[in-house]
């Protein structure tokens, strides 16, 4: 029984990926994301220099390294660190923290949403009000207060993003659950005597996955922007580890003479976010088709 169900799920997922080939927007998105994922995975092989090594300051893109004569394809920053290597290693920072923070937000948001939508009544009242209060903060104001109070570190960034995004996910899951809880298979499972926990996780959640996957793509894009913005505002990961937002902040004061220091990390972050948004658009288009 469960084997058949699993096969059906697997098949539909494969079908969705197959269908994605028909949406060129989705394919471009998937391509951009795979590019950065590969860059992050093979960072040690791809980066020509150590991202923290000081080579020669203020080299323009394409300049030659004085010592070895090798080309510095994207130039160096004010401290003389190779920008190409920092971009490559920086992709790891983004692609570790953004999915991690999104995953944590989803874990919290899904549980809150399932509980509010399935139990309704008091659970719903309390959880929805808490969500409303958190959502009434302008997001960046909330991040700045939390991070300025508790300090800037990877863990705190993940906690702040979870705290601020979970209510939005909760609203979505709650809405889907309110719809799904009246289905026959939920009633059947209830009659079988399954626990509420089982029904929520095994019966309701898998059937709500479509809108959740699209939302996750969009949200990942926002989280990448958020991490970039925090880095840009000087509230991101502490230096010297490469971080795209932080690189923009460091190069900002010299943007007039050395625009490459800020433009390159901006292109990197924009292309990654664009990838997730295009993929979300493609998935939405494909899922509406059938």
């Amino acid at each position: 029984m469960s084997d058949i169900a699993n096969n059906a799920h697997g098949a539909s997922l494969l079908r969705a990926i197959g269908l994605l080939r028909e949406s060129w927007i989705g394919m471009i998105g998937a391509g951009l994301i795979s590019f950065w994922v590969l860059v992050a995975l093979f960072a040690p092989l791809l980066a020509p220099h150590d991202p923290l090594a000081i080579l020669q300051p203020f080299a323009k893109p394409g300049a030659l390294h004085v010592g070895t004569g090798s080309t510095l394809w994207l130039g160096t920053d004010n401290l003389g660190r190779d920008i190409l290597s920092r971009i490559i290693w920086g992709s790891r920072t983004v692609l570790i923290y953004a999915p991690l923070a999104t995953f944590c937000a989803y874990a919290v948001g899904i549980f809150m949403g399932l509980a509010a939508g399935y139990h309704r009544g008091w659970w719903d009242m309390v959880l929805s009000r808490i969500g409303d209060i958190i959502l009434s903060f302008p997001v960046l104001v909330l991040y700045i207060i939390v991070i300025a109070t508790f300090g800037a570190s990877g863990l705190n960034i993940v906690i702040a993003i979870t705290f601020a995004s979970a209510p939005g996910i909760m609203r979505l899951v709650r809405g889907l659950t309110l719809d799904l809880r009246n289905r026959d298979y939920v009633a059947a499972s209830h009659t079988r005597g399954e626990s509420a926990f089982f029904i929520m996780l095994v019966e309701i959640l898998p059937n709500a996955r479509g809108p959740l996957i699209v939302d996750a793509c969009v949200r990942l894009g926002y989280v990448i922007i958020t991490i970039g913005v925090l880095g840009f505002l000087g509230l991101g990961l502490p230096p010297p580890d490469p971080d795209w937002g932080g690189m923009v902040n460091e190069g900002r004061s010299m943007a007039m003479i050395f625009p490459h220091m800020t433009i390159i990390p901006c292109v990197a972050i924009s292309s990654l976010v664009l990838g997730f948004n295009l993929l979300a658009d493609g998935l939405r288009e494909v899922s509406l088709r059938d």
Binding site: V141, T149, V273
Partner: protein, 310 residues
Amino acid sequence: MVIFVAKRLAFMVLTMVAVSILLFLILEISPGSVATKVLGPYATDEQKNIWLERHGYFEPLWYRYFAWAGNFLSGEFGLSHRFKVPVADILWPRLWNTAILGFWTFAFLIPVSLVLGVLAGMREGSKLDRTISIISVLTTSIPEFASAVFLSAIFVFGLNWLPGTSGMIKGFEFQQLILPALVLFLYDFGYVARMTRASMAEVMTTPYIRTAVLKGLPYRLVILKHALRNALIAPFTVIMLQLNWLLSGVIVVEFFFAYKGFGALLLEASLNQDIFVIEACAMVAVFVAVATQTLADIGYTYLNPRIQFV
């Protein structure tokens, strides 16, 4: 309707109370750290104790909260230890500057995104629709600081058309407002345009539009008289809620262009642990956000008679 409005207002007050408790707990739960922030890291324990005693920090927590909230309501925000002036003296002018920036952003955002959204939604799947959709995905994917970098590279360093900072040192200059407003416009434009497009596209598939077309009404009239009225209800809410996003956006943009506004003040206060300024800014920001949310809710029910007053 009166009961509905009263309920929304009561809910707004409750939200503000809850938010203020949350803020108070985050920022003032430990008096010791407040004293360190106000007096600096080199203050001795004795100095801190004198300061805490004088400012009533040895009272119980609930008492401190009510005193704090009471001061807020009467406009007493405390003293900024970074700027050495009462918080209110810097907060209001800064807020005014941000209001000017926000006004010009919306002055462009609303007409442009509504017109483009309606045009795209009118003929779903047309070339114009695809183009507008792609442009809006592109602009929402570029974070504010990145588009600020790109636009400065083009208009400031490349073409030399616009000033690169917006400090307004020699008094107000409209030129300095263009880039910050443009950056905010670009980031928010895509979302509003997409929402308008979705709403318009939905209305275009309804039976009453089909009827209007089939009975031979000119297409212009179908759009202007029948479609737009219903299609623009949803974007109204979206635009009102966009103010909440704008409050986040101004922090980045004002920091980038050195514009002396509210967002830059909040950031500077946070980086310097100027606790009373942080509290005042956060409360004002949340108040603006909650107030517009309430207005959006009330306006939505007013515009859409199908919604029941509950």
